[in-house]
């Protein structure tokens, strides 16, 4: 059994997802504690050419599982083969794709699973993870039971680790062992569609301006987009706004939308329902703009601005542009 830390490195459209860079850095951090190396399991379009560059973010080695545009789950069989070869822990992004692959590992190899975690470390050779549970009111620490198999599977929220930049290392690239013949390879993409409106991947955004029912219409999102662009961020939404058809579902934040962990979340016209909260409560800074002084979001925001979003947001956009000189 090696002391290596494996991580899933997903590639899309020719380049690594931000999660791949974050996990490279996270895996390197854990590997320095466990006395092993950070090893990327790279898959998806661009993985073959791009895997070596993960070295700049912390990966010592990279195993290329495949370069095709297949559903992530179709790579699960190859991940299983790689994980059989050893490793103390395997980090997976807490995204739908990451969870699918992690779940297959847990079920195929009977591995302990943790997460989504907000921190992980090694203590006397054993992984120890921290999770926020019960709507963030409790932090639990967990570890594998004695004698549990390895690698431990750890789901990691976006922005838990900050990717190392400016490194120049190159990961030593190898090809994957032959994938086992598991049923998951039978999942295929029958059709693929782009959303009508262009949407960004919210999980990767570090600044998010989110709008809810209070935004009142599709056009109401205009001022939010302006603010997001002044801040260099992206626009998100509550389910109420997505249900109303004002914004695509890909931008919904919450229990059944994206779980985000930006450095700044600004919520406008959002009441702060529990299902929304679980998708954004780990943001580093939460600003809420709401005309109801008693809105629940005011109870957990860092800064609560009571007022009409249609007056405050344009004024804030102007002020930010003025300060940035743009």
């Amino acid at each position: 059994m090696s002391n290596d830390i494996l991580f899933l490195a997903e590639f899309t459209g020719g380049s690594p997802a931000r999660s791949a860079l974050e996990l490279a850095t996270g895996a390197a951090e854990l590997a320095s504690q466990s006395g092993g190396s950070a090893v990327a399991l790279a898959y998806g379009p661009g993985a073959a050419d791009g895997a070596a560059a993960l070295g700049a973010h912390g990966a010592t080695r990279a195993i290329v599982l495949g370069d095709d545009d297949r559903p992530a789950i179709a790579y699960a069989a190859a991940v299983v083969s790689a994980a059989r070869d050893g490793g103390l822990a395997l980090l997976a992004p807490a995204t739908p794709n990451g969870r699918d692959v992690a779940a297959v590992l847990v079920g195929t190899l009977d591995l302990p699973a943790f997460g989504p975690v907000r921190a992980a470390r090694f203590s006397e050779g054993t992984i120890e993870t921290e999770q926020a549970t019960l709507q963030g009111s409790v932090i639990t620490t967990s570890c594998p039971v004695d004698g549990a198999a390895t690698p431990s599977v750890v789901l990691v929220l976006a922005n838990t680790f900050t990717p190392n930049e400016g490194g120049s290392g190159s990961a030593e690239v190898s090809q994957a062992p032959a994938a086992e013949d598991l049923a998951f390879t039978q999942v295929t993409v029958a059709e693929s569609h782009e959303a009508d409106a262009k949407v960004v991947n919210l999980e990767e955004a570090t600044i998010i301006v989110a709008g809810g029912r209070g935004v009142a219409s599709e056009d109401g999102f205009g001022p939010l987009r302006e603010l997001a662009s002044a801040l260099g961020g992206a626009v998100g939404a509550s389910r109420a706004a997505a249900d109303a058809g004002w914004i695509p579902y890909q931008l919904q934040i919450g229990q059944t939308g994206k779980v985000v962990k930006p450095s700044l979340y600004i919520g406008a016209g959002i009441s702060g329902a529990i299902q929304h909260r679980v998708g954004m409560q780990t943001a580093e800074h939460v600003v809420a703009i709401n005309k109801d002084p008693d809105a629940p979001i005011g109870e957990f925001a860092d800064l609560f601005v009571v007022g009409d979003l249609f007056q405050i947001i344009p004024a804030l956009t102007d002020e930010i542009r003025r300060r940035k000189g743009t």
Binding site: G107, V138, P144, D302, F304, I312, L316
Partner: protein
Amino acid sequence: MKIVVCIKQVPATGADKRYADDLRLDRAGVEAIINPLDEYAIEQALRLVDDGSVESVTYLSMGPEQASEALRRALAMGGDDAVLVTDPALAGADEWGTAKVLAAALDKLAPDVALMGMASDDARGSLVPGAVAAMRNLPLLSYGAELNVADGAARVRRLSATGYDWLSAPLPLVATVTDQVGEPRYASLKGIMAAKRKPMQTWSLSDIGLSADDLHGAALTRVTDTRAPEEKPPTERIENLPAAEAATKIADWLTTRKLI
């Protein structure tokens, strides 16, 4: 065509929950409901019955005796029968332990589609469906905004980061659906009455060919500590100011934190 919908009884959303001294969730005295996201799986299954592509719907739950209430409530929405797997050895099961039990029960029920909600309200790994699929070596179609079955295969419409895909795999398989499949139907009074007469079986571990030893205490993980989160500074408020002044204050706040 036969569907088994796996459901979990959970504490009501927003109920006051806490960890007991044994580091397990204290469920005593908390109202219990069907995991809200499982109701969408029920709704999806019943819609497939309505449109004639599925003949029967069975509900499966692992949990304490009281979880039979959740199964009755599901039967009141529609469907044919239910199975509760309950055993003292299952207290404190983690996602792996839960998957192990559901997989064994599903082997016995042998549905074309084992359908589940996309996540449970009280645990956030969303790993059970995929682990069940892996244990049974079946394909997984997850996070469907819509599910259909035809010609020996199932398809789900799944949102991607920037659009959506239709994913397809041959039956039998495991699938999960999201809250986009449509609002769950209410149980009618007639449904509630009918549910009382629908068959419900209770299985122990040995009924599904497992022993407590196979399950290592039903968990591969353990909670070693619980604590309160770091104290956050109290919420700062900006109120009763004209928009321009409020904007200046917000910008100051952001600047102090190096966010601009």
